[in-house]
């Protein structure tokens, strides 16, 4: 019973994701106006030859800040996990 359900779920997910190759065309994006702006203006506005860098740090710089913070968060989380517990610190059972 459970196997059938799992198979059905996978089938539906496959169908759901298959809309992507069916309706999007690879190598020929439907609309490009935003990126045309980036390519055209990146060199003048951000003064960088690498448009990806100018997108990453200038046009979408705030995302990059968020991303660095994600890394920092994960490092802090790992530090929390590997820390030494003090003797006698309270135990939380159940």
């Amino acid at each position: 019973m459970k196997r059938v359900l799992v198979a059905a779920i996978f089938l539906v997910w496959a169908a759901m994701l298959c809309t992507i190759p069916l309706f999007l065309s690879f190598g020929d994006p439907a609309a490009t106006d935003m990126d045309t702006y980036f390519i055209g203006r990146g060199q003048a506005d951000a003064a960088a030859n690498n448009i990806v860098t100018s997108v990453v740090f200038d046009f979408r710089g705030f995302d990059t800040l968020g991303e660095s913070v994600v890394l920092f968060t994960a490092v802090t989380g790992v530090a929390l996990m590997v820390r030494e517990k003090r003797k006698g610190e309270e135990h939380e059972d159940e």
Partner: protein, 115 residues
């Protein structure tokens, strides 16, 4: 003034101040009833001790009704429902993920078929 405090819900309204006023009035009535009670009650004397058919009073810790025993009747009456719903909470990560995936799949079917 009333308009400031009255919550209009479209079908009706509710004024919390009126409610508080009502509660205060009820409190006053309760106080009056309380003052009409017996005057010769004194705590700390034999008057206050419970009478349990002559048995000695059990220890304080034992008379406390623990949480697991509350609503036993309700749980018993709904046993069919509870046995099925509790068994869904397996604590297995796979089941958690599968429920999520399954509900997404169900959503997709509903959304695509109906509109």
């Amino acid at each position: 003034m009333d308009a400031l405090f009255t919550l209009d819900t479209g079908a009706g309204f509710w004024n919390p101040l009126l409610w508080v006023l009502g509660a205060a009035v009820a409190g006053v009535i309760a106080l009056v009833l309380y003052s009409l009670g017996r005057r010769d009650y004194k705590p700390g004397t034999a008057q206050a001790e419970p009478f349990l058919s002559g048995n000695p009073e059990p220890e304080k810790g034992l008379v406390h009704v623990r949480a697991g025993n509350l609503y036993w009747g309700f749980l018993d009456a709904m046993e069919g429902y509870y046995s099925s719903i509790v068994s869904l909470h397996t604590g297995d990560l796979h089941d958690y993920v599968l429920w999520y995936l399954g509900v997404s799949a169900l959503f997709l079917i509903v959304v695509v078929i109906i509109g």
